[in-house]
Symmetry: C2
Subunit: 372 residues, 2 copies
């Protein structure tokens, strides 16, 4: 029987070679156009493993590079074909969900003409969607749809009409006597009030949760949170007061006067992602009588001593991606629970500081809101 | 007195030289960022004469060209500075109002990273706004604002949920008993349901007209009219039935069921620009019981014999820019009036087949709607 005995080290080497060869060579050729492409555009494409492939026409260019690729490796260099098209595939699979990117053409930063644009990094960026195993919860389905309304509300403090988007649940216009709780939901740094519906698909997440009977319907209000001019690195000097005034003294009264809301603390939540989480924390601490549900999505934590009156807080929800700092979220929630807060931690598996984390966070948060 | 006599030919030459030198050299250096720039972006800029100046970073590029310039002269070539920025100014002033454009970098078509993007030519294009002498009518003012709502309506014929935008007047949510007439307003070829608010500022035109008491408030519904795939040159093969089914059999019943409309022919109008005018003409002719106000904006004309039952038509409004074919509009309206139709011609002075023509057309059309 000796001839069947293979040394352990040989098995390990063979396994490793097999693994390595698969990882480096077997890219499945089942690429399809990204769902965020402009109408009729074939590229960029994504395959079932999460690789992205780009194709851009620039016949006289000397260098074309896409900012997406493996984290920290400087993106994907495209190579020029004789037809003037530059093509290239990411060196590895990308995380599930939405990613911003841009294209460097001969040293200048442009967008991929194949994709829709999404506001992030204080510019309209290209976007690509890597199909996720759980994409069903934010898919456009044949269910009753709520509306996303653009409103222009007067703002004396900034001397202009400011824009907000308001999601109303599907039954809002039919059930003329029903009043609804409201979630004020903030975007991150460099984004704006379009982010939660365009990138986040917040309206579809809500439509699907409501159709499945998993949540009590509520209104979502999304407005621009960068009332101050914030430069890179200048976030340490950020002052919350200008935005707090717009939100608490101007937008909330406007919403309560113009929509059928339940206009009290018990029926008002505030949540924000990243910088929007920082704003949520500051405003909920400064104005404890305005909101009773607080959520920070990749946006920091609360300590028990941050909250003056525990009785005014019905929920503290803290989340982030598993590729961020999940331990910080978990330990903060443990400490809050220890101090008798209704605190919930959510970690999005396999995602980083990106919108898939925040889509999932909203999906987890929504059923916890307005329960009491 | 002989010494004061200057020959006529000398005066003509001097005048011509004066004119020519002004036209070719005196560009006023009062350039300001276009109002459609992305937040914080300094370029592109426009001056008080209507010249546009571009500035784009692409240090290693060999050629950068902007598609805008004097009509038909191939756009504006930019020249590279030592700092890697390409700059250039149009050879002459542009027409007042909104213009689409794109940037050619080494043979590839991209957008100007400085501007917001607007859907036209079946792609998201760069946009620039040349201040117009009459821009007040579409300015964002401190008046009550209506809402622009995104709805997703079920469409069996296309087996999906389709998007539309609905403008409701400022008082819509306050006056819960009032019902409103509806204008169905279509975009042009290569555009989509975002065009009339983004490029056309239809919501602001309405807000301002309502605030000034110049019109009876009405609802505007805008949806995607390119239900067929239309390729360049393929418009001759265009069939109206797919879009007609979506509009008449799916969208209108949905709007009448979900908004407080006056749901009859007398209170329904259809208008469209360019290809949307062609669609308007076909659908109003095919479905004479659905609409009673018809408007074609740079979108063709009706002949008296196109209309089977004159009693069902309350208004035919035909318009175009003075740089299009105003004589065709004027003679068609004369013929319609001769045949006892309530027909109105509007010619937008100094504009071509562009959105300034259509903003002005909506401004002229709105007060004529739903009068009877």
């Amino acid at each position: 029987m000796k001839q069947f005995r293979i040394p352990l080290i040989a098995i390990m080497i063979m396994s490793w070679l097999l693994c390595f060869s698969q990882a480096t060579t077997e890219i499945k050729e089942d690429f399809k156009p990204s769902t965020l492409n402009q109408p009729g555009q074939e590229y960029p494409q994504v395959n079932s493993q999460g690789y992205a492939r780009f194709r851009i026409y620039a016949p006289a260019a000397d260098s074309v590079r896409v900012s997406l690729g493996l984290g920290g490796r400087g993106g994907t260099k495209l190579t020029k074909g004789e037809d003037g098209f530059w093509t290239g595939t990411t060196a590895g699979p990308l995380d599930e969900g939405f990613h911003y990117y841009n294209v460097n053409i001969d040293g200048g930063k442009f967008n991929d003409p194949g994709t829709l644009n999404f506001y992030g990094s204080v510019r309209w960026e290209s976007g690509i969607e890597i199909p996720a195993h759980d994409q069903d919860f934010y898919a456009l389905k044949d269910v009753p749809h709520g509306r996303v309304q653009q409103i222009l509300f007067p703002s004396k403090s900034t001397n202009t009409s400011r824009r907000a988007f308001v999601y109303t649940p599907p039954a809002y216009d039919k059930e003329q006597k029903t009043r609804y709780p409201v979630l004020y939901l903030q975007h991150g740094w460099g984004e704006d009030e379009t982010a939660w519906t365009n990138q986040g698909r917040a309206n579809l997440i809500m439509d699907n949760l409501i159709a499945a009977g998993k949540i009590k319907p509520f209104i979502i209000v999304m407005t621009y949170g960068m009332t101050n001019e914030i430069k890179w690195g200048g976030i340490r000097d950020f002052k919350i007061e200008p935005f707090q005034t717009v939100l608490v003294d101007e937008l909330i009264p406007y919403i309560d006067a113009n929509f059928r809301t339940l206009a009290n603390r018990e029926n008002r939540a505030m949540a924000g992602l990243s910088m929007g989480g920082m704003e949520t924390k500051m405003i909920t601490m400064n104005k404890p009588d305005v909101f009773s549900y607080y959520a920070l999505l990749s946006g920091g934590t609360y300590k028990p001593e941050d909250i003056k009156d525990k009785s005014k807080v019905k929920l503290i929800f803290l989340s982030c991606g598993s590729k961020e700092r999940p331990d910080g979220i978990k330990s903060a929630v443990a400490e809050l629970k220890e101090a008798d807060f209704n605190a919930v931690a959510y970690i999005s598996e396999g995602t980083a500081h990106e919108f898939q984390t925040w889509r999932r966070s909203l999906y987890q948060l929504a059923p916890l809101l307005f329960k009491n």
